[in-house]
Structures are given as C-alpha cells and as structure tokens.
C-alpha cells in the first residue's frame, strides 16, 4: 500500500474562508485508504508549512505528497523543492488548485468544499500512479541573441558582452537605438537623449563580442534552452559596412527622394542615406522595398523604375544604358512592346500608368538623333565562336549580349533580311525599316558576323557548326508558317496566309489585294494584315474573328486604330466555308460562334450552325495563328514538347543536346517581342556559363517583388498627374501611307513622364550612387539571406510602436499638418531633425504661440484605442511643454489631460514645475474635436472640473499618442512560440516575480515589448534579462525536464502515425527496428504523439494515461 500525505492550505482566509479545509482533511484521512496523514494548515507555503511536509516525509515514510492550495503556477516549485529536500522525488508530488479554481470563484461554501474534496481526491488517485522521474542535463551554448536594438536590447547586449560572451544583436531597422534615438530630451532631467544614447550605441558598434545584424528579422527558432537555432532573415544594406567611409557622395547623386520614416514624414530622405550622423552602424545603407511591379512584370526584367527616374532627372544617357542592360532595342521596344509593365504600374491605381514604353522609345530615338552611343563597352575579345540561328529579336539580342561578353558570334538567317518577324511580320507604319535597321546595326557593329539566306538544316547543321569550331548554338528560329483553317474552299485562289502576305509585302513589296478583303483572325497579326490591306488600297476590309470584342487577343489600341482606319470587325463569327466563282474565292460563309473556350478554359469553340452570314469578297487573308516549320523540327533531333515546340530547361534554355540552347517563339509558341529578347539574354548568359565554367550555373537570385496593391504611404506621395498622350497621324492621312502612325514623345514629355514614377521599389537601382562611390562600397545585386544562429539564450526587446493617431478622425491627424504626434514634436525639437531643432509649424514654418497637448490619444480608451495606460505620456508632455517654453518663452502651452500620472523618481516634482514654473494650462477633460477655423486650429474639449465645454485656439496641436505593441508582434511571437496578452505585449512568466522571464526557459523579455515603459525601466529590464542570461551561462548546463514522451518499443508497431505529427521533428522512424524513435532533447512533451498513437505505445512522463485515468476516476468519484 502506498503512503500518501495530504496537505490542505487555508491560505489565510483565501481558501479557508470558503472551503472547510479541516473537514475535508478529516474526511479524506478516513475515507481514502492510501492516505497516511492528512493535515490542514494556515499557510502551507510558509516555512513552518513546508517543514510539516518535510518532517512527515522523513518520519512517516511518505511515498507521495498531495498539496491542495493555490495554483501550481504559483507554488508548485516551492513544494517540489520541499519534497526534494526531504529526499523525495519531486515528481511524486501533486498539487491541487483549490484557490483560483475553487474558493475564489465559488459562492456557496458547501459546494466549494465538495468541489475541493473531489479535486483533492482526484490528485490522491493520480499521485499513487506517479513515478520518480529525473531530468537530464544539457550544456549551454554561451552565445546570446538579443532581438531588438533599442535601449533595452542595447543594455542587455552590452552587459552580456561585457561578461565575455558573444552576442548577436538583431535589429529590424538599419540602425540601432530604437525609439530613444528619435527623442530629443529625456524626463525628468532634460538630458539630451542622443547624448546619453550614442555613447552606448557606439560602444555596441565597436564591441568585439557583439555582432549587429541590421535590417534583420527573426523567422524561426528551434531547439530548447541553452541550444536554440535561430533563423534570421537579413535584408541587404547594399552598402558594405566595411568599405563605406560615410562620405555621403552617394546621397548627393541619388535621384529619388522619399518621405523619411525616421523623421516621421516631416522631411524626405534619399533611399541611400543614414538617419543621423552619429547613427550606428555609422555607414550608409539603401532602402529598397523590393522589385517594383513594372520590373517584375517585364519578361526581360528591365529596370523600369530606374530608367524612368533617371529620365525624370534628365539623365537620358544613364537611363538608356540601364535599358540596354537587359533590352538592346530601346527604339523597337518602345514601338511594339506589349507593355506588361504599364499594366502593373501602381500609378494606374491612382490615375493612369506612367507612359513607360513611350519614354523608352524616346530614349532610343534620342540616342540616334543626337548621334551618340550609349552601349556598354565590349569586353576583351575571346576566341570562342558561338552560332546563333535566326536573326529575330531573340537571336539578335543573344548575339548582342554574347558579343558584349567578347564572343565571336555568327548569326545565320534563312531570309535575306535581318530582324525576323520584326522585319517581315510588322508593317512599316508600326515599325519603320529605318528604326529597325539602326538598332540591328548597333548589334552588327559589335563585330557580329551575319550570314543571311542560310537555312539551318539545309546549309548548316549541328554537325557542320561543330566542325567549324562553334562552341555553342542558340536556336531562335521562330514561327513563320500560318496555321490553316481546315474548312471547305481554303485552297481557292484568293485565299492567302496572313503571315505569308506580310512577309511577301515586306520582302518584295509586290502584293495585290482585291477590293473587298476579309481577314480571318482576332490577334495582332490579323489586325496588322487588315491595316496593311487598307494601305494597299482595298476598298473594304472586314475582319472576322471567333472572339467577342472584349475577348479579342489583339491590343485594344491596335484595334481602335484599325477601326479608325475603316476596318469593319465582325465578332463572334467563324468561317464555315469559302464560296467559289470560277475557281476564285467569291465569298466567305460564316457561322455564329457561341463560345470560344470550353468550361475548362481550353480553346474549343462551339458554333450555332443555323446562324449564317455571307460576306462577299475577292480576297481572304487567314491570320489565325503561326506554327514552325515541321520539317525543321523533325530534323533537329532534339526533344520536342507537345504542340511542336522545342523542349528546354526553363531556367537555362538548354535543349536535350549539350551546347545547344533554344528560345523565342520556337520554344514559347507565339509570344511577344520582349519575351524573345528576354530569352536572348537568358541564352547568352547560359552560353557564357556553359563555355566559361563548363556547366550551367544557377541563374541570378530573383529579388522579391513588392506587393502589387498600392499602399497608403504610396498613395499619399502620389498626387494625380495626367499622362501624356502620344502624338499620332490623323486616320485619314495614315490610311493611305505606310508612314509611322505614332510620332514619338518630346524630351519634355518624356522627362515629365519619368517624374510621374512613384518609386514603388523606393531605391530605383539606377546605379548613380554606385558610380559616385569612391571606395566601391555599393553592390546593388545583394539579396536577402537567411542566417542560422546557434545561441543558448534569447532576449526579446522588440519595443513598442506608436498609436496611429489617424484612428481618431475627429482630431484631424493626417488632414491638418499642424496636428502632430508627440514623437513628431520630439523631432521638431531635435537639432538633427527636420527643422534643425527649431520648433516650427509644419504647415508654414512659423513659430507657434499656442500649443495644445492632447493626452491619452489611444490610451485609456476602450472605444477607440487601448484600455491600458501608456504610462509615459504625462511625463513626455510635461517635458515637451518645458522644451517648448525654452524655445519660445512667450508661447502658451495648454494640456487636455484625464489624470496626471507621475509615479517615478523626481517625476511629480518635474510635472509640478511644468505647471507652476512654465505656466502650462492643464485642463482636465477629453478633447472632442479639433477643427480648422480661419487658418487657426480650434481644440474643443470639456473641462470636466468645471463641467463646461472649452475651446482653445492653437497654432500647433501635439497628440500624446499612446504606446502600442509592434505591428508585427505576431511574427516574433510565432517565431518564438511566445505568448502575448490580448494587446500583443509579450507575457512574462509572472507579473511580479518573473518580470523578464517567459514561459519558455532561455527566452527573456525586456523593455516595452512586455508593456509600456519609460527609459529607466527599460534599461533596468535589459539589465535584468542580461542577469538571467548570465546566470544561465555561468551555470553552463540546463536541466532537461523529464516530462517528455517515452516510447515503449515492445508495443510500437511502426505505423508512423506519430512521425509526421511531431512539430519538433523529435520522432523518426528507425528502419532497422521497424519502430518509431524519440529524441529526448528535441521532445518538448506536448503529448500530441501520445494522444495519437493508436497502440498507446507512447506516453508522456508525468502525464501517463494511467495517471490521467486515475485522476478522471477520482475527480468523478
């Protein structure tokens, strides 16, 4: 028989006042067989109480002890230690909560007594099943990570580092210092905040034991106390901390200015800058939000924001060079591009997208007009020869980039002209031969050899090229055959393929069309064909397509222009057959197309054969699609994907034959010009790595794009400016001529369009700074990376955010420039701030006379803000009005307050001084409304002491915004599994006794992340957290709780149910034994596996099923 001792605590009257402890003790002593001794006592947690337990264990030889008192969260360790001290294993002890769960919440004493008895009975039933457990120890990795570089984090980091341990200081922003760096002075001493902070930050900066990770965020933490692995996402600074000298040359050339978050929007900054001269790290960095949507949308990845910004700044050469990095044919592209960039442009969400394409066209044309060459320099010539097959946009751009790299490039082209579809598929009125030839000449001028009239497969083959010493081949053969319709009469005279028609016109200039032409097809080629037919003198041109007007794949502007030129469009019709007259086509019979795509979205038209339309005509041009030459494909001996496309690796464009790459339409199917160019560049890079490194190196890491939706901040900096319209030829004129329809932008128009860019990526990566930087410290190709840090302890000091005052709409924050937050006021006072330390109104820069401070904005307000008191605002306001008075002794501060809270050393005296010596008028009451009247602000509130409404005229209103949890607190709490309160402040282990510890051993919380705090408190907590960390490190090892899952191998069937369930990957499958296997060190004891194990082979120690079942039985007995 087990011997159980039961102890029931009165907790003064906390328990004893409701629960009849004595009666329970007597009854249980008699009723339960295992109970050897059952005592009740006033305060069991007191030393005499604990002694009772110790003595009984020794004298009565107790096996198990049950203690009924307060929550185990409070005193479980106390009693466990008492048991230990008497030589009993602490896991043979069980605690019952009869205070929080019983006496405090139950009104009826009898019911409370009964409930308490049941709870205790359950614990007795449970405790006899408990077995002695012993934890294991693990050594501690004496490296700390401090998350958050504010004053609390700085303090913790310095103290740990000074004790000789390595510290990683992880900071989200580009500098450390946190909110304190933004303050001007501190209360109640009016010390200069910067003067007391910067010595600390620079100490951190040069401390050999501290490694600062700026622009870094915690992603995930695994492991356990003493042995954590943290994954930290480090965003690029783009400026090397080692190389940067802080000279500031970069800042001077930066074309972008953006509202400064550090200055709370009261001034602007360049993306490359540093917030203030003493900032640590004391180097510049670049603020880049990510890849802008225009660039992300561009298949060729042209840096649109960069060249737009440069154009806006009038730096056309630099802008064009930037275009050429990825798009050699600026003029061509500017004329015929599909413009996915403009669809993505965020300005489109405000008014209309920037005219990106036309601006690019201007740049290309400008170069030619001015007779300058802004191509990048060609690298030293190399010996290797590369063959490019096909002189379309893909082939030519591959040749361009390969030639720049120094290769000996030969382009083989079957047609007699260069340019592929650009030359023979796009009519002159869209792209004139002169423009095209000029850009092609730019390629050939780089030393590219051209062999026209040379067909691949006929005149050259892979083998012959190999023999001729070509190291690599790029196939860009395109699609040059019109697809057929497969309807009756298709082979009649007068029915021609659209592509053949355009090609013949382009090459021979000798095509005739009838007077009445029907064009079949709804794509751009069809429209081009139709418009060409108009220009060739057709009287009537009708375009027939399956799609409805909205569904037509041709570009809207092309269709509009065609209609302007007299083309008639018949939508939703499909050809049924061609009618004949003397062997020549005489009419097209059409049937109604009811839908083009089937339910799965595949092209699968359905018709209503009953509805028929007959169009008389004498020519039909069929432009319903392109295909490649089957013959050519068959000869290649390459792997061919379905649909007659060459199959390639999408990243490298490598085909199944080594050294052979393919791209453009032949790979993609009918695609756009810009896609072909993208492929050309991609192929050039792949060929270069193939030849240079003998392998295919991974393509450059892509930058993450910014969100496609326009943000509030972006909207604020985007006043509507209307888009410039492209000057065009009149329809009547252009109808009869092949002269270009679009006339091009003027310099001024292009520059203005450049200025319309809203800088979605913040930094535009134009490269101006790179060119300006003497020490070559800037690398724009830096990408974010994830670092894995092995640490033994973590201090979370992520600080606070400021309440968003615009949530009080009636205060007009954001609408009235002279309503500012108190943090903005700090910046106004600060010598390195936007006004160089002069307190001036943001609206007109005048010195304010009446300044009204509004307290508790967002604090102590259940309706709109937070319920809690932000604790520091009363003192901040007292401080700020004092500073204001020092700046402007004649000024009059008013304060609308709820209560004045000045608990703290010297605080009350300071506040008193502000009231009595500075003459501030304190009005008790909430502000109802702030409005503008005749150029002055009027603050209307209530004087609750008088009980009357009051209105104060103000030049400046300062809102004492409350402190809130960081907006992204969840990312930290999830990474660490750290509990927060309902607001988002991190939960400490105990509100009184464990203020910096958390529920997770080895993770500590310091500063305002735990709740609103002033500087001294944050510093104290930082120190306290450091103390905890140092205690851990100096002990050097940690006890691992024995309450982990244990596997009974005898029972395990190896069904693998548990393996995938474990969130800590602590369970693996042992193939040799055919059972699961649990890693103690990783197991956290959550018990998910035990609950799921279908054969109950896993049990969590101290929470075994027999213990729980006994407890259930006892609780219901």
């Amino acid at each position: 028989m087990k011997k159980v001792g039961v102890y029931i605590c009165h907790c003064g009257t906390n328990i004893g006042g409701t629960v009849d402890c004595h009666r329970i003790a007597e009854e249980l002593g008699q009723e339960v067989g295992e109970v050897v001794i059952c005592r009740d006592y006033k305060y069991m947690c007191s030393e005499p109480g604990q002694k009772l337990i110790r003595d009984d264990i020794r004298e009565l030889g107790l096996d198990h002890v049950v203690e009924a008192s307060c929550s185990p969260k409070m005193h479980e360790p106390t009693f466990r230690n008492a048991c230990s001290a008497a030589g009993m294993n602490p896991y043979l002890f069980e605690m019952v909560n009869i205070r929080e769960h019983c006496s405090w919440v139950t009104e009826d004493p009898e019911a409370a007594t009964q409930k308490a008895k049941h709870l205790i009975r359950a614990a007795i039933a449970r405790v006899v099943h408990q077995t002695p457990l012993k934890g294991s120890t693990k050594s501690v990795n004496p490296t700390a990570m401090v998350v958050g570089g504010g004053i609390a984090g700085i303090t913790a980091a310095l103290k740990i580092a000074n004790a000789g341990y390595k510290v990683y200081l992880v900071e989200k922003e580009e500098i450390i210092g946190g909110k304190m760096a933004q303050f001007d002075k501190t209360f109640p001493t009016l010390d200069c905040s910067g003067c007391i902070l910067t010595p600390k930050t620079s100490e951190v900066g040069r401390h050999p034991n501290i490694e600062i990770l700026t622009k870094s965020e915690l992603l995930e933490v695994k492991g356990f106390v003493g042995n954590f692995t943290a994954r930290v996402l480090q965003k690029p600074r783009y400026v090397s901390i080692e190389k940067c000298t802080g000279c500031g040359d970069c800042q001077k050339v930066c074309p972008v200015e953006i509202s400064s978050p550090f200055e709370l929007g009261m001034t602007t900054r360049h993306p490359i800058s540093r917030p203030f001269p003493q900032a640590i790290p004391n180097t510049y960095s670049i603020w880049r939000a990510g890849m802008p949507p225009c660039q992300a949308a561009c298949p060729a990845g042209v840096n649109v924001q960069g060249y737009m910004t440069l154009t806006g700044a009038g730096k056309y050469g630099e802008a064009l060079a930037l275009v050429r990095e990825r798009m050699p044919f600026a003029s061509v592209c500017g004329r015929i591009c599909a413009r996915p960039c403009e669809d993505a442009c965020k300005r489109g969400q405000v008014d209309a997208p920037s005219a990106i394409c036309y601006t690019k066209r201007f740049l290309g044309d400008y170069e030619k007009e001015q007779g300058i060459d802004w191509n990048p320099p060609r690298k030293d010539p190399r010996e290797e020869k590369v063959a490019v097959v096909g002189a379309g946009p893909g082939g030519l751009s591959a040749a361009y980039f390969l030639a720049l790299e120094g290769y000996q490039v030969t382009v083989f082209e079957k047609l007699p002209v260069l340019g592929g579809m650009l030359a023979v598929g796009i009519p002159d009125y869209r792209l004139s031969k002169e423009v095209l030839d000029a850009e092609i000449r730019m390629v050939t001028d780089l030393g590219v050899t051209v062999k026209t009239g040379t067909a691949f497969g006929r005149d050259v083959t892979f083998e012959s090229l190999e023999q001729d010493g070509y190291k690599a081949v790029f196939l860009a053969t395109g699609l040059h055959v019109s697809r057929g319709l497969n309807v009756e009469g298709e082979d009649l005279e007068g029915v021609t393929g659209g592509i053949e028609f355009l090609r013949k016109w382009a090459l021979d200039g000798d095509v005739t069309v009838g007077s009445s032409v029907v064009v079949i097809g709804g794509g751009n080629v069809a429209v081009d064909v139709a418009r060409t037919a108009v220009r060739l003198g057709a009287k009537k041109v009708e375009l027939v397509c399956l799609e409805s007007r909205e569904q037509m794949p041709a570009w809207e502007r092309e269709i509009l222009e065609a209609v302007e030129e007299g083309v008639v469009i018949h939508n939703s019709w499909g050809p049924k057959r061609f009618l004949e007259s003397n062997g020549h086509v005489s009419a097209v019979e059409l049937k109604r197309c009811t839908s083009v795509f089937d339910e799965s979205g595949a092209f699968n038209p359905s018709y209503d054969e009953a509805e028929v339309l007959e169009l008389p005509c004498d020519s039909v041009l069929v432009a319903i699609g392109q295909s490649s030459e089957r013959l050519l494909l068959d000869q290649l001996g390459l792997e061919i994907a379905p649909g007659g496309r060459i199959s390639v690796d999408p990243d490298t464009l490598a085909t199944s034959r080594p050294g052979v790459f393919a791209g453009g339409d032949g790979v993609l199917g009918p695609a756009t010009f810009v896609q072909a160019v993208a492929h050309g560049r991609q192929a050039a890079r792949s060929i270069h790595s193939y030849i240079e490194y003998g392998g295919l190196r991974p393509i450059e890491a892509k930058e993450k794009p910014v969100p496609p939706e326009i943000s509030e901040a972006e909207r604020r900096r985007t006043p509507p400016i209307s888009r410039h319209q492209m000057p065009m030829l009149e329809p009547e004129v252009r109808k009869n001529s092949f002269a270009p329809v679009e006339l091009g932008f003027s310099e001024e128009m292009a520059q203005k369009e450049g200025q319309r860019c809203i800088e979605c990526g913040i930094c535009c990566q134009c490269g101006e700074c790179v060119r300006a930087c003497g020490p070559q410290a800037i690398d724009l190709s830096e990408r974010e990376r994830v670092r894995e840090l092995e640490v033994g302890a973590i201090v979370v000091a992520t600080g606070i955010d400021i309440f968003d005052a615009s949530r009080y709409q009636e205060y007009g924050y954001g609408r009235y420039p002279d309503v500012i937050t108190n943090l903005q006021f700090e910046r106004l006072c600060n010598a390195s701030g936007p006004t160089q330390g002069k307190v001036l109104r943001p609206s007109d820069g005048t010195v304010p006379q009446n300044v009204v401070f509004v307290q508790c904005v967002g604090s102590r307000d259940r309706a709109k803000g937070y319920e809690y008191c932000s604790k520091v605002c009363c003192m901040i306001t007292a401080k700020q009005l004092s500073i204001f008075k020092h700046h402007n002794p004649n000024g009059q501060p008013y304060v609308f307050y709820i209560d004045n809270r000045a608990g703290g050393k010297g605080y009350e005296e300071f506040l008193r001084r502000a009231i009595e010596e500075e003459g501030a008028q304190y009005i008790r009451g909430r502000v109802a409304k702030i409005y503008q009247e005749g150029g002055r602000l009027v603050v209307r509130g209530e004087n609750s002491l008088v009980g009357a409404p009051v209105e104060v005229e103000a030049d400046l209103v300062v809102l004492a915004t409350g402190l809130t949890p960081q907006k992204d607190y969840t990312s930290v709490s999830r990474a660490l599994n750290l509990a927060t309160d309902k607001y988002g402040f991190f939960m400490e282990l105990h509100p009184k006794l464990g203020p910096v510890e958390t529920a997770l051993t080895g993770i500590y919380v310091a500063g305002a992340a735990q709740g609103p705090k002033d500087i001294p408190e944050s510093v104290a907590q930082g120190g306290a957290a450091a103390g905890e960390v140092l205690t851990l490190f100096s002990v050097g090892q940690v006890e691992i709780e024995p309450t982990v899952a244990r596997l009974e191998e005898r029972l395990c069937t190896g069904c693998r149910t548990c393996v995938e369930l474990c969130a800590y990957s602590a369970i693996s499958f042992d193939d040799s034994r055919k059972t699961a296997s649990i890693n103690d060190a990783l197991c956290q004891g959550c018990g998910t596996c035990a609950a799921a194990c279908p054969v109950a082979a896993i049990r969590v120690q101290h929470f075994t099923p027999d213990e729980i079942y006994a407890q259930i039985e006892g609780i219901l007995a």
């Binding site: 009974e1048 005898r1050 395990c1052 069937t1053 190896g1054 393996v1059 995938e1060 799921a1092 279908p1094 054969v1095």
Partner: protein, 332 residues
C-alpha cells in the same frame, strides 16, 4: 500426470470456433494424450449431467457470446467448475459480432415473447449481448473470429499439455509476446489474464508498406481498389489494424480488405474507437476547422466499425453488464 479434464462449450455463436478446435485436433493430432475431453456438446452431445460429479474441470474453453439466460447460467456454471476459464473467439472474449445488436436497443415487443410459462420453453434473451468477461472473471483470452490455429495450439500447449507435447507448431505468425511464448514452451501458466496473441497491433505483421500517414480523403470500402502492397489506411480506407491486437498475421489486409479488429484492442489501449479516431484524425490533411469538419463528415457508423467485434466488452461507453459480473464474483 493425470490427464487434464477439458470442457469446450459454445454459447450464442456460430460453430466456427468449434470447427477450429476440431480442425486443430486433426491437424496437429497430439493434445488428447494429455487431455480428456469430458464436456463438448457440439461434438459429443454431452449434457450438463457430466459436470455433476463435482470433479473439477481443469480447463474450459468457452466460445460464443452471452445472449440468453441459458448462456449466462452456462458461464456461471463453467466458471464454478473450471480451474482455468478461457474465452475462446471474439464472441466470448468481446461479445463479437452478436454484440453489435447493443447499438440498437432491444424492443421487448419484438424479441421472442417466449417465457418459461409456455411450452416448449425457450431460454429468455437478454436485452444486451455481452461477452464472457461481462459475466464472469476470465483467466485467458484467445481472440479472433474464429481464432487461428497457431494461437489455439499455443493455448492448448500452455494450458493443456503442460509443455510436454513434443510437437512445436510454429508461432511466428502469431507473434506471441515473450511472457506467453516462454510459458508455452515451459508449459506453465502464462500471466493471469493474458491474451494468446501478439501485443503490438496488426500493422506490425501486416505485409503492406507504410510510408506517411496523412489522411486526405476517406474512401468507403467499395469506392477504391487499393494499390497492392501499400498501407490501406494511407490510401484512405479505414483499417483498424492500427489499434487491433496482432496475432492473425494480417490475414485480411493480405487479401486487400481492411482490418475490422476481430482480435480486440491492442494491449495498452483503453478504448480502440477513441484511438482510431485520434490516430486517423490527427493526421488529417487539414489546417482549418472547416476542412477537418468536411473530412470528418464523410465517415459513417464509427461505432459499428471501430467496435465491430468488441462493442459489448471493449467499448468504454457501452461495455456493460458489470453488475452481473459483480454478482458472479461475490456469488462464487
């Protein structure tokens, strides 16, 4: 050593257990050297008078569930007469398939109205079917529907032949736990209350390959032709092999149909239904409550599936008749 006196009795059940024992006899042909069968109504037509000479029965194999008053009296009588009482087969051990009737409460008007008053009398049916342990304490269990011959042989070897039999059948398929196989070999009584079967679950001896338990969709038995050689549960079929005691060697899963648990719950399991629920639903491929709820909605008749053979004795909520059992304990 005098021959052990053996009784074999069938209560409410089919004759499969009897036939299995019969088959054992002729297949192995050994144990009658140590046993004298004194009572076997099925094969010998023995009447209860045989037991009236007050000589103890050494081992009684009790087959069938307890569905009538007569069954109950037989159980009490044999318990009193036998030194060792073995619940043989799923019916005796857990109530078996007949126990399923407990899911639908008996309607007295629909049950046979027979009573002792009319003639000829018919044993009164109990309102709830139970297994043998619901009526009397049981010493050993031989599960299965019907028990497989290796298990029966192991049981006879241990309890009847006293380990003297020279014939050692192969028990490898039965995967007896060490305690029992040692006892079988030595001819001593295994630990009281032992089950002559494995201690792991059917999965351990199932021939199908297990990869990853992630339950993304339930298939009813008829809806899926499962891949050969892959775990049935992982393919979306409910297979109770997960929480069922092994010993059969995975007979059902070997022929492509999922286990239904005729060996009862695995050794350490409290309630097989709860364990099946937990094991399957824990691995639901669902992060949101809506998804999980949708997946659960496809399941039907959990009680009739998870307690197919064990409803009467092993379902924590419906196992009953404990009062009767107490009577028996205190009455004897």
């Amino acid at each position: 050593m005098p021959k052990r006196r053996v009784a074999i009795y069938s209560a409410t059940g089919c004759s499969a257990c009897d036939n299995s024992i019969l088959g054992l006899h002729y297949q192995v042909g050994a144990f009658t050297g140590w046993a004298e069968i004194v009572f076997w109504p099925y094969l010998r037509g023995d009447s209860w008078q045989v037991l009236e000479d007050d000589r103890q029965i050494d081992v009684c194999f009790f087959c069938g569930s307890i569905a009538t008053e007569e069954d109950r009296h037989a159980a009490l009588r044999l318990r009193a007469a036998a030194r060792v009482l073995v619940a043989c087969g799923a019916c005796a051990a857990f109530g078996g398939l007949p126990g399923l009737v407990n899911l639908i409460p008996a309607d007295p008007t629909e049950m046979s109205t027979s009573s002792q008053d009319t003639w000829p009398p018919l044993p009164r049916a109990k309102s709830r079917v139970s297994g043998l342990p619901g009526i009397v304490p049981v010493d050993y269990f031989v599960p299965g529907c019907p028990p497989t011959q290796p298990l029966l042989w192991a049981c006879f070897q241990a309890l009847v032949s006293g380990g003297e039999s020279q014939i050692r059948a192969s028990f490898s398929a039965a995967r007896l736990p060490e305690a029992i196989s040692t006892a079988v070999a030595a001819g001593v009584l295994p630990p009281h209350g032992s089950t002559f079967a494995g201690e792991k679950a059917v999965c351990a001896s199932c021939c199908r390959a297990k990869e990853e338990k992630k339950f993304s969709r339930l298939y009813r038995g008829h809806e899926l032709d499962p891949d050969a050689g892959r775990c049935l549960l992982e393919q979306g079929l409910i297979c109770q092999g997960l929480a069922t005691r092994e010993g059969c060697g995975g007979l059902c899963t070997a022929v492509g149909v999922p286990c239904r648990g005729c060996f009862g719950k695995a050794e350490a399991v409290y309630d097989a239904g709860a364990k099946m629920v937990s094991a399957i639903s824990s691995t639901f491929d669902a992060a949101e409550a809506g998804q999980a709820s949708e997946m659960a909605a496809r399941f039907v008749d959990l009680a009739g599936t998870f307690y197919r053979y064990t409803l009467a004795e092993q379902c924590a909520l419906l196992a009953g008749a404990s009062e009767e059992r107490n009577d028996a304990i205190h009455g004897s």
